[in-house]
């Protein structure tokens, strides 16, 4: 009987291992490919079947001394601005919806309806508005457009965290001698700070990855990374080597940030769940 159990467990383990390996390969292979491509000359890139090659740094040098660093900073600015405004507005909003049921039951999920809207619908009005405000082509316009999809998500994400804070905690602060705003600041907010950090990172990644709005609303000096990467697809053909470098420059920060918030992501989507 012992042997039978062992065999079954061994089989299951092998099967599991197999699936995990496949998943790993599927996920990691593209990154590996891009990394390798970044070290190849155009000639080697045209022969993808070759397993061995001599790595060169030309692509890296070319890309990092050109515009990519500026694009990186542009993306960074847009991401930070978007997140800052989203948190500033979204945190109190999430509090109102989560704690005081502002807007009723529909609001809690209703604010996500803006996510369903195709960007193509909004981009023309946004372009027109930025033109009339004389900010067209600026990073501010891009950040403003990013708010249309980052702010709702950040707010929605935070609602669960606010709901998890027991009402008694806030009420205790009220009886102890603080007004509602002070009670929010001193007692409620500290409880949701981990959620706020996660929401901020989540929102940043959403903004960082946007191609559509950045493509249409900015350009030239204000190009963001996704746009720059797309730019390597020229009329002469795809400049794969340099594009790969740009891709890595764009992807690595996101990987690092995502690693830090993976736990909190589950909590936020699951609806808070802080323990007391």
């Amino acid at each position: 009987m012992n042997k039978g159990v062992n065999r079954r467990t061994l089989g299951t383990s092998l099967l599991r291992l197999g699936f995990i390996l496949i998943a790993l390969v599927v996920v990691l292979f593209p990154y590996l490919w891009v990394l390798l491509s970044s070290l190849k000359s155009p000639a080697q890139l045209s022969r993808p079947g070759d397993l061995l090659f001599e790595p060169i740094l030309n692509n890296w040098i070319a890309v990092l001394t050109a515009e990519i660093p500026q694009n990186f900073l542009n993306s960074l600015f847009v991401g930070c601005a978007t997140v800052a405004i989203s948190l500033l507005v979204g945190t109190p909003a999430a509090y109102a919806i989560g704690r005081h049921r502002a807007g009723g039951r529909l609001t809690r999920f209703g604010i996500l309806t803006s996510e369903l809207m195709p960007p193509a619908v909004l981009v023309v009005p946004l372009f027109a508005i930025s033109f009339f405000l004389h900010i067209n082509g600026s990073l501010l316009a891009v950040a403003a457009s990013h708010l249309t999809f980052v702010l709702p998500v950040v707010t929605w994400f935070l609602i669960g965290f606010f709901e998890a804070v027991p009402n008694e905690l806030e009420e205790q602060a009220l009886v102890d001698g603080y007004g509602r705003f002070a009670a929010f600041r001193k007692v409620v907010l500290p409880q949701v700070l981990p959620g706020v950090a996660a929401a901020g990172i989540f929102g940043f990644v959403l903004s960082w990855n946007d191609l559509f709005y950045a493509l249409i609303l900015a350009g030239g000096q204000t190009k963001t990374l996704p746009v720059a990467i797309a730019g390597y697809n020229t009329f002469r053909g795809v400049e794969l080597g340099e594009m790969s470098v740009a891709i890595l420059v764009a992807v690595i920060p996101v990987l690092v940030l995502s690693f830090f918030i993976q736990k909190r992501l589950v909590r936020g989507i699951g609806g808070g769940g802080l323990k007391y």
């Binding site: 008694e168 905690l169 602060a173 009220l174 009886v175 102890d176 001698g177 007692v187 007391y276």
Partner: protein, 366 residues
């Protein structure tokens, strides 16, 4: 320190009246317990006194001040919640000092008061820790310390002992009484546990369905319940209640017939507490009712006493007897019991109000 007065206070949520027109005077320095089953309005009343719920109608006075429309922070009351509501991100010291800092007291005085409160409640070594590092009993004490340190006009407790195990609960009850004796501050305490109400209160306010059913000392409420509800709710095991008719001085049900010393006639509900149901022969003849035939169904030994569940043909009776009486009783056996006639209660069959010996209906002491 101040007394509290509720004048015609009413709380309505939409069409539901959670608290019906309530008038209550709480004398300065007394320990008043609002007791009743879930949903009776006791917590709503407490929250209205604290300012956490708006009063639909009526007035609340704290001492000489009309606090009805004041924010909680301006009322000078301290509250302790059932789950202690200690701020998890702050140390115990900061938790206790929180209210004092809100009032912008000087640092030195805050420190002195916090340490004094902590010493009084035996939690001085825990001041640097965070709430999650404390046991339930310690958290409870920290919450009480946070309330006492403010030296408020009144303490409001919302079922503070419900989260503790039985033994701790008894310990904390004594602790609360000690604190109350020491500080003399008015206390309004909400609980659903009738034993807590009995042991802690100077004055008990028994509530049901948004109304005060009776309001008096524990002895008054226990010995002379103003309503059938109060008789049943207070006292454990529960009072026995029998529906029957009184004719010519005899109370009759299908299988019970006892003479009663009440000026009554007609349908009535008679109540008798389990400790007033005796085995035949235990009561002096002038106090004992006629014997009632019953069969012992269940015996639950408590230690020095036992709860005996009896069945007459129609009724289930509970008797609370001394353990030694069990020598004569065992499950399944027949027995004869008698009621202590001096301790019979009579309630109106329709309204449930108490009918006293002279036949007068009397409704609590609101």
């Amino acid at each position: 320190m101040a007394g509290i007065e509720l004048k015609d206070v009413m709380k309505r949520y939409g069409s539901v009246e959670a608290v019906r027109r309530m008038n209550l005077e709480i004398p300065d320095g007394s320990f008043v317990v609002l007791v009743g089953p879930s949903g009776c309005g006791k917590t709503t009343t407490l929250r209205m006194i604290a300012g956490l719920e708006e009063v639909t109608e009526g007035e609340i006075r704290l001492g000489s001040r009309d606090v009805t429309n004041l924010e909680p922070k301006d009322r000078d009351v301290a509250m302790v919640f059932q789950n202690y509501a200690l701020y998890p991100h702050m140390s115990i010291y900061d938790n206790i000092a929180f209210g004092l800092r809100a009032r912008k007291l000087p640092k030195g005085e805050i420190d002195e008061r916090v340490r004094r409160a902590a010493t009084m409640l035996d939690i001085e070594p825990l001041l640097k820790r965070k709430p999650r590092a404390l046991s339930g009993g310690q958290q409870q004490r920290a919450a009480i310390g946070r309330a006492t340190v403010r030296e408020p006009a009144a303490f409001l407790f919302d079922e503070p002992l419900s989260n503790l195990d039985a033994k701790l609960r008894v310990e904390m009850r004594e602790e609360l009484l000690r604190v109350h004796k020491r500080l003399g501050t008015t206390v309004v305490y909400v609980t659903h546990d009738q034993e807590e109400a009995m042991t802690l209160s100077d004055v008990m306010v028994v509530m049901s369905d948004g109304e005060i059913m009776q309001h008096g000392t524990p002895a008054e409420v226990y010995l002379r319940p103003a309503h059938e509800f109060v008789g049943r709710f207070i006292g454990s095991p529960e009072m026995n209640l029998l529906d029957g008719v009184v004719e010519d001085g005899t109370f009759r049900t299908k299988d019970i017939s006892v003479s009663v010393r009440m000026q009554l006639d007609g349908e009535v509900k008679v109540g008798i507490r389990p400790e007033d149901v005796h085995l035949r022969g235990e009561l002096p003849a002038d106090q004992a009712s006629e014997p009632i035939d019953a069969r012992v169904e269940i015996v639950e030994l408590l230690g020095a006493r036992a709860i005996v569940s009896l069945l007459t043909g129609e009724h289930k009776l509970k008797a609370l007897v001394e353990a030694r009486a069990l020598e004569e009783l065992s499950e399944g056996q027949s027995a004869q019991v008698a009621f202590d006639l001096k301790r019979l209660h009579a309630f109106d069959a329709r309204t449930g109000e108490r009918i006293d010996e002279s036949g007068r209906r009397f409704y609590g002491s609101v």
